[in-house]
Each structure stands twice: as C-alpha cells, then as structure tokens.
C-alpha cells in the first residue's frame, strides 16, 4: 500500500522528528520544572502534571493508531501496516505505564493513596492489560500472517471495549459511594499552560519518532527473516 519511494522519504524525517521532540521536551521540562510557579493548593507536586498529562495523551494516541492500523490491516493485509500496529502497541505500553506510575506518585501526596478505583485509572490499567495481552498473543503465534490477523482482531475488540469499561466503572463508583476524591476543575494559568503545550507537542513528536523507528526495525527484521528463508514464504512488499 505504501510505495517504497514514499516509505524512504518518510524515513528520512526520522532524525528531524527525534531532534524536534527532544527540543520541545527539553524546553517544556525547563519551563515546567524551573520557570513555572508552584500551584496554590498542590505546591510543587503539580509539576508532575507536565509529564503525566502529555504521556497519558500519547498513550491514547498510540492506542488510536493501533486501532486504525488494525482496521487498515484487516482491509488491505499489508504487512508493513502490521509492523506499524506492533510498534504502536509496544509504545503504548511504555506511555501507559509511565502515565500510571507518574499518576500514582502524584496521587500519594495529593489524595493520600497510591491507587483509587477512579474510572480513568481503571480504564488506563485495563488498557495496559489489553496491550500486554496483545503483545503476548503476538509472541505465541508462529505464523506471521496469522499473528497479524489475530493481533488486529484483538486490538479492535479491545478498543471497542474500553469506553464500556470506562462508563461501567464510572457508574460503579458514583453509585456505590460518593466520589470522595475528585479533581477540582482547575483553569490553568498561562504560566502553566505554556510548558504543558510544549510537553504535549514534544511527547506527540516523541511518540511519532518512536513509532517510525520501531516500525522500521520490525520491518527490517521481517525482511531479514524472509531473506534467511525463515517464517515468511514471500518477501514483504
């Protein structure tokens, strides 16, 4: 589906993406950790937001990529799209774990607990479990084409399931007991918004960069296996 010429052109942008994302993240971190003011209520703890929120968004971005890629794979059966999905899942695990861990670190001083059964927390944890299940499933299938199809099916089912998980947990919490813990609707001060925007752009670029690198790696690995007469009967297009 993607012609080799276009692919080559896209891959030339790898380095630029990496450098740009590094630049944005560096500026964002500097502004967030040093320049921006501490929060009136939360104090210095608020600074973890500059990592947590962008990483959570990047995790959702990876999973959306995974879902769309899986749909395209089932439609076109192009193995490089499958490599893209595989890459997106791995990156998704990375971003989701970081988002969960930083959220936990933030929750301890703010909510005085490491973990609470909040809808967003639970759906993120479920998302992590689905992604890990997805990656494990891939390792256990021997045939490459079968692996790609099975994984795509798993990703689509998981993506459809996540909103239902979110709403069910939300009902479960709100009806069981009043939300003892809730985030106040904070309207963000400009001094905090600027580093957040920088970090958002930076992590989006970072996830794109990682996605391209990883896709390239997996693709070359396939090519190598095909050359060695390994698992692929035909050379990937």
């Amino acid at each position: 589906m993607i012609s080799p010429q276009l692919r080559g052109k896209l891959w030339k942008w790898n380095g630029t993406l990496g450098i740009l994302s590094g630049f944005f993240i560096f500026i964002g971190l500097f502004l967030g950790l040093v320049v921006s003011p501490p929060d009136y209520y939360q104090g210095e703890v608020v600074r973890i937001m500059y990592v947590h929120v962008p990483f959570a968004k990047a995790a959702l971005l990876s999973y959306t990529t995974l879902f769309l890629g899986s749909c395209v794979y089932l439609w076109k059966k192009d193995l490089i799209v499958d490599n893209l999905c595989h890459a997106a899942a791995g990156i998704g695990v990375f971003f989701t774990s970081i988002a969960l861990i930083t959220g936990s670190i933030w929750a301890k001083p703010t909510w005085n607990t490491w973990w609470t059964w909040d809808p967003r927390l639970v759906s993120f944890a479920i998302l992590l479990l689905i992604l890990i299940g997805y990656l494990m499933l891939r390792t256990f299938v021997d045939d490459k084409k079968r692996e790609a199809s099975y994984a795509a099916v798993m990703a689509i089912i998981g993506f459809v399931d996540l909103p239902i998980v979110y709403f069910s947990v939300e009902w479960w919490r709100t009806l069981h007991q009043p939300m003892s813990i809730s985030t106040r609707g904070i309207s963000i001060a400009p001094g905090m918004l600027v580093p957040l925007v920088f970090m958002m752009i930076g992590t989006t670029l970072l996830s794109l960069y990682m996605l391209m690198m990883r896709t390239q790696m997996l693709y070359l690995q396939h090519l190598l296996e095909a050359k060695q007469g390994g698992l692929l009967s035909e050379e990937p297009s």
Partner: protein, 225 residues
C-alpha cells in the same frame, strides 16, 4: 437460508456431541462445585457476611467456570482437522461463529442453572422467589461472556500457551460484565425494585450487543487470516 441452516447444524452438532459424551457439562459442574466448597472454607459461615459476599462469590464461580468451559469450546474442532474443514467450507463464517456461540451459551446457562440451587443449599440462602430475576441477569451476563469467550477460544486454540492466553485476553475485556452482573445480582438478592438496578441490566445489554456484533464481524478475519 444457508446462514441459518449453518447456525442450526453447528449448534445441533455441539449439542449432540455433548449429549453423547457429557464431557464439558460434567467437568464444568464439578469444577464449579469445587470452587463453591473452597469459598465456604475460605470465608466465615456467618449468614450476614455470606449474604453480603454472595453476588461476588456467584460471579467469581461462574467466571472461573466460563474460563474453563469457553476456553476449550474450539478444542474439539482441532481434533481430526475439523477446524480446517470449517475454514474451507463454502458457508458464511459469521454463521459458524453464531452456531458455536449459541452452543457455548446453552452449555454455560445449563451449568449456571444447576449451580443456583447448590448455592441456595450450601450457603443457606432463601432466593427461590428471586430466581427468575437472577436467571435473567445470568442470561444477559452469560451472553456477553460467551460472545467474547467464543471469539477468544478460536483465537487461542491454535497458538502456543493456549491455556494461559485465553484468560489473559478474556478477563480484562469482560470487566463490564462482571461489574454489571455483580451489581445487578446484589440488587436482585437484596430484593430491591427493578428500577434500582435497571441501569446495570442496560449496561449488560449494551455490552452484549456491542460484543456480539463486533465479534461476529471480526470472526471472519480469524478463520480467513
């Protein structure tokens, strides 16, 4: 017509082989019975405590049983290469899914219907009047579990580490079923009016619809990978 005939014959074949061998239903029943005993040893026999824990106990038992039962629903097709013949059969693949799905649904419902009286006896519960609403809840939750379970069963039947992968894929995705089933069972057991737990029934219903339709649609891509 072919579509419905395929569903009918696949379902008939599963029922017939189950009637002849009685493999699944007896093993599932005794497994659930064992779980039930373990529960009663693990928790105190205090009546109030048991009553409070009951919805959770019922659904943990049903959940484990369905992992065991649904996980091997396509295993019988692997013997004698039946799965390959299903793959090459010139019939709509969705119909094969629905046939297996109804077979699994009937099997799980049969086990659950046998188990409810046992819960009543062993945990000294008086739930006879609430049995109809409990059965409706079981039905709805089991539809969701079977829809996902049938799909993941065919997904894992031909891979390595099948027994591990099946629950790993099924359990995170069936979180809404368990929440909905436990909450509505709680409502039904404590004798609340239907309107108090209606939204849980609706949740189960939505989950059933979404998962059955999605699984039906993607099943084709598993057989014709």
């Amino acid at each position: 017509m072919l579509f419905f005939n395929v569903i009918k014959w696949i379902l008939w074949k599963d029922i017939l082989s189950e009637i002849r061998s009685r493999e699944s239903i007896s093993s599932l029943f005794f497994f659930a019975l064992n779980t039930l005993f373990i529960f009663s040893f693990s928790f105190s026999v205090d009546r109030d405590v048991t009553f409070a824990l009951m919805p959770g106990l019922i659904w943990v038992a049903f959940g484990f049983t369905s992992i065991l039962g649904l996980g091997k629903s396509f295993l019988s097709e692997v013997h004698n290469d039946c799965l390959s013949y299903l793959q090459i059969a010139p019939v709509p693949k969705g119909a094969i899914y629905l046939g297996k799905f109804f077979g699994n649904l009937l099997l799980m419902l049969a086990v659950e219907i046998i188990l409810y009286p046992l819960f009543m006896i062993f945990f000294n519960l008086d739930i006879l009047a609430k049995l109809p609403s409990l059965l409706i809840i079981s039905m709805l939750a089991t539809v969701g579990l079977s829809a996902l379970g049938t799909l993941f069963s065919v997904l894992t039947v031909q891979i390595r580490a099948r027994e591990v992968m099946f629950p790993l894929l099924l359990l995170p995705l069936s979180v809404p079923v368990f929440i909905g089933a436990v909450e509505s069972t709680q409502g039904a057991l404590s004798g609340d009016p239907f309107s108090a737990y209606r939204h849980w029934i609706e949740l189960l219903f939505i989950f059933d619809m979404v998962m059955t339709i999605t699984s039906f649609w993607v099943f084709e891509f598993i057989l014709d990978y």
